[in-house]
């Protein structure tokens, strides 16, 4: 409040309100009417008029609002790491609209364990009268100490061996919603090269010290893939980023074509998500099942680093990243989400899952489980921060993520 504002307040109190506060100003200026008292205050103010000046905080908020509501920030944080298990991720991106809606985003991230990602993505979100979107993505990433514990569910933590991989990649993804709602079709083609190398900077032994190419398919190889995939799904959630009702049911078919025909395979992902609101959405029971099955092509193998896994901040949260790997994987998750207010939920969750060499073994026997508690800060359509503590027989883990669990 400015100095003149104080004077105005002073005069107004004296003049405008009940007669019990007879006006000093009135006496001093010899005004004889109530109107004159008020006019005197207005005259005083008229001598000190100035345009509205927002505070520094208000200006910052206004800038943020302008970015969020009206456009994309040029510089923005980027928290997507190169690979699960890299630890906390720092990153930054620079986005630039190349046309009214199409945007080029160049970004990079670095994790505390030295995982690196750098990529550029061109997105065209309004194709086919807003029924389709296209993403063209190209980049490079490296995970220096990705974990491998062996095949199946019987591995011990002590079995851990680490590996490094580097991967340049380029992809095109077209997403269609022919009916605008419900039906989702997505197709993608990616060319990438996976170079598996000895781990760097890890406290654990590197994979080549414990395995051979005969015992670990893909060990020490460089494989170039043409990875194509297609998804058919039904999605009636309010938003993939945050939803309190609705569901998603989809199937994704992958084809990994190795130009050297050594490590080609196909994969089918089945995913079902259902949000069940209770007590007018004060509670939400969120359920998710995801199964991944692989099919090695004739005389080819699935490389160990692309095997389905369970264990990560979005699958089994109480286990380390990629804790269990095998030819097939199944994860079942349930959450009881409790609304604290419009921008915050808490959740009690339970995850269970397994991997198996045979699809027939992808049943409910021998599954590993965890449970935990979390807090999510969200908007109507996004979950920018998720903090969870999960506990499994192998210990407790803290999960900090910038995306919803599913």
């Amino acid at each position: 409040m400015h100095r003149h504002g104080l004077w105005i307040l002073f005069v107004v109190v004296a003049g405008v309100t009940d007669g019990a506060t007879a006006s000093v100003a009135a006496q001093e200026t010899a005004v004889a009417t109530r109107e004159a008292v008020i006019e005197q205050a207005q005259i005083e103010k008229s001598e000190t008029l100035h345009p509205y000046v927002p505070t520094r905080t208000e200006a910052l908020f206004n800038r943020a609002e302008d970015i969020l509501v009206n456009g994309v920030p040029r510089w923005h944080p980027f928290f997507e790491s190169a690979y699960y298990g890299g630890g906390f991720t720092f990153g930054v991106g620079y986005a630039h609209h190349v046309s009214s809606y199409n945007m080029l985003d160049v970004r990079g991230s670095y994790t505390v364990l030295g995982y690196k990602r750098i990529e550029a993505e061109l997105t065209a979100p309004r194709l086919f009268h807003r029924r389709g979107s296209l993403s063209l993505l190209g980049g490079w990433r490296e995970a220096t100490q990705a974990a491998f514990y062996g095949f199946g569910m019987g591995t011990a933590l002590d079995n851990r061996a680490d590996f490094d991989f580097r991967q340049p990649y380029g992809s095109a993804t077209l997403t269609l919603r022919p009916t605008r709602r419900l039906l989702l079709l997505r197709g993608s083609a990616e060319v990438s090269q996976w170079s598996q190398r000895p781990a760097e900077g890890s406290d654990f032994p590197s994979v080549e010290s414990k395995y051979t190419p005969a015992t670990l398919p893909g060990l020490g190889t460089t494989t170039t893939y043409l990875h194509s995939q297609g998804t058919v799904g039904f999605d009636w959630r309010t938003s993939p980023g945050y939803s309190r009702r609705g569901g998603f049911y989809g199937v994704t078919l992958h084809d990994y074509a190795d130009k050297d025909e050594r490590f080609g395979f196909r994969q089918v992902d089945y995913e079902a998500i259902q949000d069940v609101p209770i007590l007018r959405e004060a509670w939400v029971i969120s359920l998710r099942a995801i199964a991944r099955t692989t099919y090695a092509k004739s005389d080819q193998q699935v490389p160990f680093f692309l095997l389905p896994y369970v264990g990560s901040g979005s699958t089994m949260r109480g286990f380390t990243s990629h804790r269990f790997r095998d030819q097939n994987g199944l994860t079942l998750q349930g959450e009881w989400r409790i609304m604290a207010n419009r921008f915050m939920d808490t959740a009690v969750f339970y995850d269970t899952g397994k991997v198996a060499a045979q699809r027939a073994d992808l049943d409910l026997h021998g599954m590993k489980s965890d449970y935990g508690f979390g807090v999510r800060f969200h908007g109507p359509f996004t979950t920018p921060l998720r903090v969870e503590v999960a506990r499994s027989p192998e210990g407790a883990r803290l999960v900090v993520a910038t995306s919803p669990i599913f």
Partner: protein, 569 residues
Amino acid sequence: MSRSSFASPVLRAARLMLVVGALTVCARAVSTTSPHFYPDDPIEREPESQDASKAQPYFIGSMYEMTTNLFVTAGYKPSGTRAQNINTIDEVPNSSWFTNRIGTASVTVDEIARGPNRGAPPDPSHWILTREKTSGAHPGFTARDAKGETWFLEFDPPYFPEGATGAVEVATKIFWALGYNQVETFLTTFDPRRATFDERATIRRPSGARTPFTNDDLNAVLEQVAKRPDGTYRVVAGRLLPGKILGGFQYDGTRPDDPNDVVPHEHRRELRALRVFGAWTNLTDLKASNTLDTLVTDHDRTVVKHYLQDVGSTFGMCNDLYEWDLSYEHFIQGDTTRRRLLSFGFALSPWQTVHYVEYPSIGKFEGDVFDPRAWRPQTPTTAYMELRDDDAFWAARRVAAFSDELIRAAVHTGEFSDAAAEKYLGDVLIKRRNKVVSAYLPAVNPIVNPRLDRSGRLSFENAATKTGAATGTAVYHASWFRFDNATGETEPVSETQSATTTIEPPPDLATSAGGFVAVDVSIENAAYPAWRRPVRSHFRRETAGWRLVGLSHLPERLPSAPDLHASTR
């Protein structure tokens, strides 16, 4: 606008100075010969003496406002001070903010049905789109009608067909009758087959560039709104306001560029009273971007006129079909957040169990569980926090002045195709009116309209019993004083009492022209202890008889800020 950020040390100092200033003035008033009442008291219009043509548009960010209101204003300690724009008889004078209508003068069925509308409705035979709609929850456009006049069009979302447009129309009539400046609005039709684009029409893209409005932009809006079977769309059209648009007003502080804006907005009674009117109509979205200041010429002077421009967030209309907690909690509220966190949601909130009658055109709006004191807008405002019981009493009298017939006339302007929905909305407004009246009229000594006849006989009305908001046997006690207008001193004369609303004067009451008397009237009614606090009236003897010049239901400053936030649930 000089933002009254009460959290700032500067403003704390300002408030302290205000209080000290007020006390100083009071003390000096007793010791000097300045008049207590001026000859023109009570004023009927707040003067706007200065030219405001230098006022400039500015932007009030919704994010900043919401964050401030949720995290700072919510902790604001009300000053407990009386509204500062009222006159000496506890009423709000007319101003560029407010015009006394219902409760002061009679409002007829025809008048409320017309509301603020003065000009002709739009001609919807051809719309020319000129710009996108940039504010408000529901999709729309800016467009010119076939007569070339500019309108702001707003559609219904598919889950509330007729709802959003009907709410704007009905609420506009109600808030106009309550005294607020309202935009002229009409329900009309948008037929995309009869719509074209102005050659200069543009729309702001995510890139920040403005590029020409296209059919795809039109379709993007129409895909999100309720469509009629004949391919047309029901819209509510708001007429472009005259004058220069300055942007919204805030619910605290004053505009630094408007010389006539000298009362901090949180101390304007009509803005405080939106807590009561908002509860009645469920006006949940109290924010600056739903208000509008314009620069207009009035009696050869340029002044700022203040509008409640968007009152469509009423009757349960909201951004989503599932905003169950709306009107029961702020977006973020400490006590309910803590309760749900600690109980894992087992401690149910009222909104989780309240029963709503479902009509597509009516939102979540009911009158059985509704508690006016427990009602919450999306975010609190400083004016909302400053509401005192005398402000609420003033507001409740206006709500009480809405007869069933007037309410149903206002609702009828919503042109709901389902007669049952129209009846339901009217029924709920009547129920909620009765609850508002019952909550706030008995909360203070409800003496109103005191008058002395030529013989000095005092008569008045009991607003609470007159409206049926209170019952029981009452005894009215009057303490009579001679009042020295020069010094403010009072001299007790006598005390009289009555079981009716007419009390005989003491025999030795002053009667000379220019003389003043003060009368304190308290009420003894076992059910309402608050009525023992006397209402003080001041009368001036004039040639034609006694004239009421002063009336106060509560002291200038309450010893402790009222806890109007206490939920009765």
